[in-house]
């Protein structure tokens, strides 16, 4: 399935505000992150978290086409 993944901050500077990745049906958060990271090969980017539908997601959670998926670089609010 083809997923749209939102990017922010340093990841958005490197790859744009979103990217498309192709992952198998039943793919997990870790698979999505690996696919997005492959697009950034050779660049130094901080290790991110992944959010699914506006919540931090575990690496082993499965994703589906209807999910809103985002790469969350280290946050620095406040």
């Amino acid at each position: 399935m083809n997923l749209t993944v939102l990017l922010f901050a340093s990841w958005a500077d490197a790859l744009g505000s979103s990217v498309q990745v192709e992952v198998p049906v039943g793919a997990r958060v870790a698979d999505v992150l690996a696919s997005v990271s492959a697009l950034a090969v050779g660049r130094v980017l901080p290790k991110p978290m992944v959010a699914v539908n506006h919540r931090y997601a575990r690496a082993d959670a499965t994703v589906s086409l209807s999910d809103e998926i985002a790469i969350i670089p280290p946050v620095a609010g406040g």
Binding site: P46, A76, G77
Partner: protein, 146 residues
């Protein structure tokens, strides 16, 4: 309880008035401001950006947690995004509580959890003309952007 991500200047006085209650014996205000020096470098301004929908959800969750955990009368938080100049407020946290100790405990919980969890990022502008995303997981190192 109320929280928001906003793109205009913050007014601490409004938030302090919003939490006022004759059931509370203490109100606290925390104001985060843009500092002239960070990690030894001279800062001239900061761009704050957010993953808006998630930031609002996470901020509301933290406010609800603090209100329940400490028994606050009122909690109101606003986080600003956009480009801020020196001295401007990026966040205002207002708490009221019957008891002062719990008001201060809630204040500290709120700012620490917000810094840890809310998807907001800041890019500092330095006096030498460069700009960099701040990465709190790598203190004093150049962060992120290639």
């Amino acid at each position: 309880m109320r929280s928001a991500i906003v793109d205009r200047p913050l007014d601490p006085t409004v938030l302090l008035a919003e939490v006022a209650s004759t059931a509370s014996g203490a109100s606290t205000l925390f104001v985060g401001t843009v500092r002239r020096v960070n990690a030894g470098r001279e800062v001239t301004g900061i761009d704050y950006t957010a993953y808006g929908a998630m930031a609002e959800r996470e901020l509301a969750a933290i406010v609800a947690e603090a209100a329940a955990r400490f028994g606050c009368e009122q909690v109101v938080v606003e986080h600003r995004i956009g480009t801020l100049t020196l001295g401007e407020a990026s966040i205002v946290i207002a708490v009221s509580h019957a008891r002062r100790a719990a008001a201060m405990d809630a204040q500290r919980y709120l700012i620490e959890e917000i810094k840890r969890r809310v998807p907001v990022w800041k890019r500092e502008h330095y006096a030498d003309g460069t700009r960099e995303w701040v990465d709190p997981t790598r203190p004093h190192a150049t962060a992120g952007a290639p």
